[in-house]
């Protein structure tokens, strides 16, 4: 039976939904499951880790692990992988996962794959499916080592209902800190804002929003809907939106129920971050904009005219 170790995705002291999604998939395959949690002050997370569907919890809980540092983070995962004898080590999609997975693979001499969307295990043979070339193709990849470290693409697996695990805590000893890559400062993202990865609705703006007035206009709509407020790279480069709001290949990958692309042309690098969304609405004044090729609903029009109407109409149907 395959043994799958899931790396817990913890942000600001909270367990993110990807952990349960990955564990659900692992259980559906019939694998034995464990989770490894790396961080500080995590004792209160134990019930969440169990409920997410893990049967063993490897805990690396130490004040020295509070700020992310790829070296020590990877060491903890390697430690857990060895103790658990894992065939598959899965990270949820995050910058930490992307930074740590290749290190873990190199240390274990395992194969490594990022952004996987599916996995097929047949006896000893592991195969995965993943997009490549900016999502233009899919690849079926054969793993030749019997052990795979993978980063799972956002939205690839769903959390099943009624899943739970059993508590079996294994304490890991904290690794030494990386003296050659010392984190000096963390400039936190604006807290209190909705994490794009969690939001059920994401509304993103592009260069079409033009300036601060455009940003504010669309932001009001996002606030009304309690939606995540994202951006194309153009508005980040323009200094209107924070880096962590960028959706796309270089930014966040999102898969909400509803994605609204407002004043975004639909460059492939942007599409690669959002074309897994369930429903896409595009507002663009250019009827030929490529975003309309992927949008379920398209409004051809000036966003400065359309967005206020959108707000009003949505308010009406919601009240």
């Amino acid at each position: 039976m395959a043994k799958i170790l899931v790396v817990a995705d913890i942000k600001q002291g909270e367990l993110k939904s990807s952990t349960a999604e990955l564990l659900s998939k692992a259980r559906a395959i019939g694998a034995e499951t464990a989770v490894v949690a790396v961080g500080s002050n995590m004792s209160s997370l134990t019930p969440d880790l169990v409920n997410a569907g893990s049967d063993t919890q490897y805990m690396a809980d130490d004040p020295g692990l509070e700020l992310f540092s790829a070296g020590p983070f990877a060491s903890c995962v390697v430690d857990a992988a060895k103790q658990f004898n894992a065939n598959l080590i899965w990270f949820g999609f995050s910058e930490s996962g992307k930074a740590a997975a290749p290190r873990v693979a190199a240390q274990l001499e395992a194969a490594c794959a990022t952004e996987i969307t599916d996995v097929v295990i047949d006896g000893e043979q592991i195969e995965i499916v993943r997009p490549a070339i900016a999502n233009k193709v899919m690849q079926r990849v054969k793993v030749n080592t019997g052990q795979l470290v993978a980063v799972v693409r956002a939205g690839a697996f769903e959390a099943a209902d009624g899943v739970t695990g059993t508590e079996n805590i294994v304490t890991l000893s904290p690794p030494p800190s990386d003296l050659k890559a010392v984190i000096k400062e963390l400039v936190s993202d604006a807290s209190g804002e909705i994490d794009l990865a969690d939001a059920d609705i994401v509304i993103s703006i592009g260069r079409g929003a033009k300036d601060q007035a455009g940003v504010d206009l669309v932001k009001e709509l996002a606030n009304d809907l309690n939606a995540g407020f994202g951006s194309s790279r153009a508005m980040v480069d323009g200094g209107f939106m924070a880096h962590n709001k960028q959706v796309g290949q270089t930014g966040k990958i999102v898969a909400p129920s509803l994605y609204m692309a407002i004043g975004i042309s639909g460059a492939i690098q942007h599409l690669a971050g959002m074309n897994g969304s369930k429903v896409i609405l595009a507002v663009n004044k250019d009827p030929e904009a490529p975003i309309f090729n992927v949008a379920d609903y398209g409004i051809v029009g000036d966003l400065f005219e359309v967005v206020p109407i959108l707000r009003e109409e949505i308010k009406k149907v919601r009240s």
Partner: protein, 260 residues
Amino acid sequence: MKILTTVKKVVDVELTIRIADGAIVEDGLQYVINAWDENAVEASVQLKENNGAETTLVSIGGGDNTDIIRKCYAMGIENGIHIEDPALEKADSSIYAKVLQKVYEKGDYDLVITGKQAQDTDSGQTGIMLAEYLGLPCVSNVIAIEVIDEQHVKVSRLGDAGTERVELELPAVVTVSDSINEPRLPAMRGVMMAKKKKIEVMDLAALGTSPEEVGGGAPKSEVVEFMASKTRQSGQKFEGNAADITTRVVDLLVNEAKVL
């Protein structure tokens, strides 16, 4: 400071990619410098201009890489190495990283700058694995590099919780995001000069290694099939009076798509 920059030749992602019988159809493809490697080149050249550095690039595979290496010369890179060997045909990131390790060990470099990701694989592994194999510190997804002194650089990285500022002891490896800079367009003069510059071409033997040593015979993973990606269908597009069509779309979002 000696900087090694890695540059991969990749298929132009802006063009249509067709698939037949589980493989990518070569016909009609074009090849360019990996976009993130252009950012790596630009970062290296800026360090050279602002702090003084010797800049070398290495590119593995790709057949005739003269064009892309010349473009990097024209941007300001001084030396170019091209590794070409039939044993690398099925290379994965781990194998490229092992070849890069050999290149690094021959050159006594202080800083390696790679792109965060190759546009053909979208893997984002090679630079990080190289650092592991070399036992060097590494920061990925870097958006700024600042030289502190001969032994240290300070880098900013986009992490999950925000921008992390990390002090790195050299030698070190960084992988850069496209947010780090805007790659320059080479000036005409640079393009002319680049034509005269030599490119050092080597196979694995000339590099002092063998296919076995870099794992070339047995990749840890291999692509067995390419498939068309699920394309989304374009849905309903509305043109006309803004109030009318917007009202109509809201109604569809509520009653048809049921997402509002």
